[in-house]
C-alpha cells in the first residue's frame, strides 16, 4: 500500500459520484415527465368515461349496424403493433415489451403478418434479430397528444382496410400495475369485438342521424380514444420504469461511494501507520547504537 492506491481510490470515488449526479438528475426528469403525464391521464379519464357511456348507448341502439371494422370471423393475418420508447436507461422495460411481442408472434405462427414498430429501441433490436418489420415510426409520440393518437388510429384503420394480408391488428404495450411493477399486455385493436351493450337507461333518445349512421360517425373517435389511452399507459409505464431504474442506480452509486470512502480511509491509515513504524524503528535503532 502506498500513495498510489489512495489516488486510485480517490479517482474512482470521483467518477462514481459524478455518475450518481447524472442518474439522480435523470430520475428527477422522469419524475417531472411522469407528473405531467399523470395530469394528462386524469383529464383524459374524465373524457373517456363519458365517451364510453355514450358509445355504449349508441351501440345498444344501433341493432342493424354493419361495418368491416366489426369482428365477424376468426382473423387469419395479424399485424402486431409494438409500443416501445425511444430512449433506454429504463431497466428491462423495452426488452420486456419486445420479448413479449416475439413470444406472441411465435404463438401466432402462420397467422402472423408482421410488426408495426414504434420507438427506436424496438426498431434497432428487431432489425438486429432480423424480424419482419413492416412499418416503423421512431422519435414520435414522445409526449402523446390526442391528435397523434387519432391520426395513428386512422392510419391503422387504413392498413386494416386496404391491405389484403392484414385482417387483424393487435397492440403490444407495457402498462404500470403499480409504480414499481411494469407489465406487458396485448390488446385487440381491430376488428372491434362486439361491445357489451350496457344500455340500462330507460329513457328513449332522439338520434340524429340514425343510430347506425351515428355509430359510423363516432367509430373513428372511439378508436382514437382507445389509441390515446394505450399511448398514455405505455408512456406512463416507461417513465415509471425509468424512474425506478435511475433511483436504483443512484442508490447503488451511494453505496459504492460509501464503500470506496471506507477503503480510501483504511489505505490512508495503513500508509500513515507504516510511516510511523518506520520512523520509530529508525530512532530505536539509533538509540541502540
Amino acid at each position: 500500500m502506498g500513495r498510489g492506491t489512495e489516488q486510485l481510490i480517490k479517482k474512482k470515488i470521483k467518477s462514481v459520484s459524478s455518475t450518481m449526479h447524472i442518474t439522480r438528475a435523470m430520475e428527477m426528469v422522469a419524475t417531472a415527465k411522469l407528473n405531467k403525464l399523470q395530469r394528462m391521464v386524469k383529464n383524459f379519464y374524465d373524457y373517456e368515461k363519458n365517451f364510453s357511456d355514450v358509445f355504449a348507448r349508441v351501440v345498444g341502439a344501433a341493432s342493424d349496424f354493419n361495418s368491416p371494422l366489426i369482428y365477424k370471423k376468426e382473423p387469419k393475418k395479424t399485424l402486431l403493433v409494438v409500443f416501445t420508447g425511444d430512449m433506454g436507461l429504463c431497466g428491462s422495460y423495452n426488452n420486456d415489451v419486445i420479448d413479449y411481442s416475439y413470444k406472441f408472434a411465435d404463438k401466432l405462427g402462420e397467422k402472423f403478418a408482421g410488426f408495426y414498430v414504434i420507438g427506436s429501441r424496438a426498431k434497432s433490436r428487431m432489425s438486429f434479430d432480423k424480424r419482419k418489420i413492416r412499418y416503423s415510426v421512431v422519435n414520435a409520440y414522445g409526449t402523446p397528444s390526442y391528435d397523434d393518437a387519432q391520426s395513428f388510429a386512422n392510419e391503422l384503420v387504413d392498413i386494416y382496410l386496404s391491405k389484403e394480408d392484414v385482417d387483424s391488428i393487435k397492440i403490444v404495450q407495457g402498462y404500470s400495475k403499480n409504480p414499481l411493477v411494469q407489465l406487458v399486455k396485448v390488446e385487440d385493436f381491430l376488428p372491434i369485438k362486439p361491445i357489451k351493450n350496457s344500455n340500462n337507461s330507460t329513457s328513449v333518445y332522439d338520434y340524429e342521424p340514425q343510430p347506425s349512421e351515428l355509430l359510423n360517425e363516432i367509430l373513428p373517435q372511439y378508436l382514437g380514444t382507445r389509441m390515446f389511452r394505450i399511448m398514455l399507459e405505455a408512456r406512463v409505464a416507461e417513465q415509471n420504469a425509468r424512474q425506478n431504474a435511475m433511483r436504483n442506480a443512484t442508490e447503488n452509486a451511494k453505496e459504492l461511494v460509501k464503500d470506496l470512502t471506507l477503503k480510501y480511509n483504511k489505505a490512508r491509515q495503513a500508509y500513515i501507520t507504516q510511516e510511523i513504524i518506520e520512523v520509530t524503528n529508525g530512532s530505536e535503532a539509533l538509540k541502540d547504537a
Partner: protein, 132 residues
C-alpha cells in the same frame, strides 16, 4: 337552466349552466332549451354558442364529436373545442390558405378528404374568432 359540459381529451373546456345552446349536427342546425327529450347526435365541425342566464353569450369552435342531452345535462365530447379568445387568427388564416392550395394539387381521395376537413376547421376557427 340546464347544465352544459364540454369535454375534450385534454381538459374540461366548459362546465356551467346555460339557458340556451345552439349547435350543428351533421344533419343541420339545432338549438336546445332546458328539459329537452334525451338526445344523441353527431356534431359537425361548427360553431357552438352558449347563452347563459344573464343573456351573455359565449362561442366555441367545435371539431366534430358527439352531443348528448340527458337528465337536463348537455354533454359535448369533442377532439377539440376552442373559445373565441383562444384561437390564433393568423395561424388559422395561414392554415386555410395552405390547405386550399394543397387541395387544388391533391390527387387521391383520402388526402382530399383530409384537406377538406382542414379547411372546415380553419373556417370555423376564423368565424368564431371574428365574432366574439
Amino acid at each position: 337552466m340546464f347544465k352544459v359540459r364540454i369535454i375534450t381529451p385534454q381538459k374540461r373546456v366548459f362546465d356551467g349552466e346555460a339557458v340556451f345552446v345552439e349547435f350543428k349536427t351533421v344533419e343541420g342546425a339545432m338549438g336546445t332549451l332546458q328539459k329537452r327529450a334525451p338526445f344523441l347526435g353527431a356534431l359537425a365541425i361548427s360553431e357552438l354558442e352558449i347563452e347563459k342566464s344573464g343573456g351573455e353569450r359565449e362561442k366555441f369552435a367545435i371539431h366534430g364529436g358527439i352531443a348528448e342531452f340527458s337528465q337536463n345535462t348537455l354533454t359535448i365530447l369533442s377532439d377539440t373545442a376552442e373559445r373565441a379568445d383562444e384561437i390564433d387568427i393568423e395561424r388559422a388564416r395561414r392554415a386555410l390558405e395552405k390547405a386550399k392550395i394543397e387541395l387544388k394539387n391533391a390527387e387521391d381521395e383520402k388526402s382530399k378528404k383530409d384537406l377538406e376537413g382542414k379547411i372546415q376547421r380553419a373556417t370555423v376557427r376564423l368565424k368564431v374568432a371574428n365574432r366574439k
